[in-house]
Symmetry: C2
C-alpha cells in the first residue's frame, strides 16, 4: 500500500511530525518509523502516536528513503490526509468582513528548501494564507514539509493557475498588491507604510517576480542593503518584509 501514496501526501522529519502531532494531529493517517528507533525523543514520538491512536509501522531506513526519495527523513515519514487547500474565491469572500489581511504570494520559487523556509516564515508571522502557482514552482513534497517544520501542513494554502489574475482578484477585494524588488527605483522599505490589507509578493533569488505581476502591483518596495556582499537569502528577506508589514498598524496607532 505505501508504494501508492502520492508524494504530496507524505511528510518527513522529526520536527515536522512533532508539530503536526501538536497542532494538526487529525491530518496524520499513518506514521512510518525506522525499526531501530531507540529511546529518548524518538520513542516518545511513537508513544505519542499510539496515544493519539495513529497507526505506526516500523520499516527499514532504506524503505523510508525509498518512500520519500530522500534520506533526510530522520527515521520518520508519515502519510497525511490530502491538504484541503483554500479556493481563492472563498478566501476573498471570507476576508470581506475583516479589517486587516496579510497574504504572501510566492512567484517562481522552484527550490524546495526555499519554498519550505518561506512557508515557515509565513506561519511564524501569522499570515492569513500563502498563494502560489500550481504549475510554476516547487511542489508540496516531503522536503518542503520538512524544511517548513510542518508549516506546509498548517498555514492556509491557495494554489492558483494564474498568479497575475489572482493579483487582480485581490485588488478588487481591497488588498494592496506590493511587489518586492531588489533595488530602487522602488520604494525604500524603511520609508514604506503598508495599508491594512496587504498582498505581499515575493519572487525567487534568481528569477525575481514575473514582469506582468510587477506591473500589476500597486507598489514596488525594496529592502536597502547596507553592506558590500550578497543580499540576504530569500527567507531572511521574507522575515523582514513580513515584520515590516506587521509594523504598519503600530505606526498608525502611535501617530493617531
Amino acid at each position: 500500500m505505501k508504494g501508492h501514496i502520492p508524494k504530496s501526501q507524505l511528510i518527513m522529519g522529526i520536527h515536522t511530525l512533532q508539530h503536526l502531532l501538536a497542532h494538526a494531529p487529525e491530518r496524520l493517517v499513518h506514521v512510518f518509523a525506522e525499526q531501530s528507533v531507540g529511546k529518548g525523543r524518538k520513542s516518545e514520538l511513537i508513544d505519542l502516536c499510539h496515544k493519539r491512536k495513529i497507526p505506526v509501522s516500523l520499516l527499514s531506513f532504506d524503505a523510508l528513503t525509498h518512500m520519500v526519495t530522500s534520506d533526510s527523513h530522520q527515521s520518520f515519514v508519515a502519510q497525511v490526509r490530502p491538504r484541503e487547500c483554500v479556493a481563492l474565491k472563498d478566501f476573498l469572500k471570507n476576508s470581506e468582513e475583516k479589517e486587516t489581511g496579510l497574504v504572501l504570494m510566492l512567484d517562481q520559487i522552484f527550490d524546495p528548501q526555499n519554498f519550505g523556509a518561506l512557508l515557515r516564515c509565513a506561519e511564524c508571522f501569522g499570515v492569513d494564507a500563502v498563494v502560489f502557482s500550481k504549475n510554476r514552482g516547487a511542489d508540496l513534497t516531503p522536503v518542503v514539509a520538512k524544511t517548513s517544520c510542518g508549516a506546509s501542513e498548517i498555514v492556509p494554502l491557495i494554489p492558483v493557475s494564474n498568479l497575475a489574475d489572482a493579483v487582480l482578484h485581490f485588488q478588487e477585494a481591497g488588498f494592496e498588491a506590493v511587489a518586492t524588488t531588489l533595488e530602487a527605483p522602488s520604494e525604500n522599505l524603511y520609508e514604506t507604510k503598508f495599508g491594512m490589507k496587504t498582498l505581499l509578493i515575493l519572487g525567487s533569488e534568481g528569477e525575481g517576480i514575473q514582469p506582468l505581476i510587477q506591473k500589476r502591483a500597486d507598489r514596488r518596495v525594496y529592502l536597502p542593503m547596507r553592506g558590500k556582499i550578497d543580499s540576504l537569502n530569500v527567507a531572511q528577506a521574507c522575515s523582514v518584509l513580513l515584520f515590516a508589514v506587521g509594523f504598519a498598524p503600530t505606526i498608525r496607532t502611535t501617530s493617531l
Copy 2:
C-alpha cells in the same frame, strides 16, 4: 607549507572567494583550486586571481578537503592574511565622535553555520562591528567563512575575553545594550524604539543569552511570533532585529 596554515587563515567556497576578490583582494595570500576545474565561472575565478597577481596552486579534491577538513569547499580554498581584529578600546574611542552606532554582540553561538549566517546578516545590514567571545562560541573556521559568504572577512570583528564586561564598556560609551529574548515580559519589538547607539545582543537558539548579560542589558526585547510552530531560525530573527533597529532613525525623522 600548506599543511601549516592555521584554519583561521583559510577560507573556502566559490561565493566566499568571489566576494573577497571583489571587496578585499588584499586579504588573499594564495588560492588553492582543484586540478580539474573546468570552463565557466570556476576558470573565470582563476583568471581573476591571475589578474590580481594572487598565486594559484592546483591540487586534488582530496588535498583541498584535507586542508579545510571539509568536503564542501566547492573546489576552492584560499589562504588569507590573518584578520586584523578590532580592539574594543579602539572601537569605542573611534565611536565617540559618531552620532549613531550599531553593534551586534553574539553570545554562545556554537554552531558554525549559524555563526556564519549571522555574520552575513550583520554585513548586509551594515553593522559597525560584531562582538563575540574568544572562548565560548564557534571559531572562525573555513565553514564559518563559507556560510557567511565571505562576510567573516569583511565585517569588523571584536573578539573579547569577557562579554559581560564588554557590555559595561559599551554602556559607558553611550550605547544602549538591548538583549533579545524569546518572550514577554520583555518589550514587544513592534513597540520598541531604539536609540541612536545600540548594542544588540543575540544568543543561540538553544542556550539564549547568559543570565549576567541579560541582567546588565538596559532593555530586553522579544519578537512576538503569531503562528503555532517553532520560532524563526536565529539568522531570520537577527535580520528582523537589525532591520527594526535601522528603522528607529526613520521613525524619528518622520515624527519630527
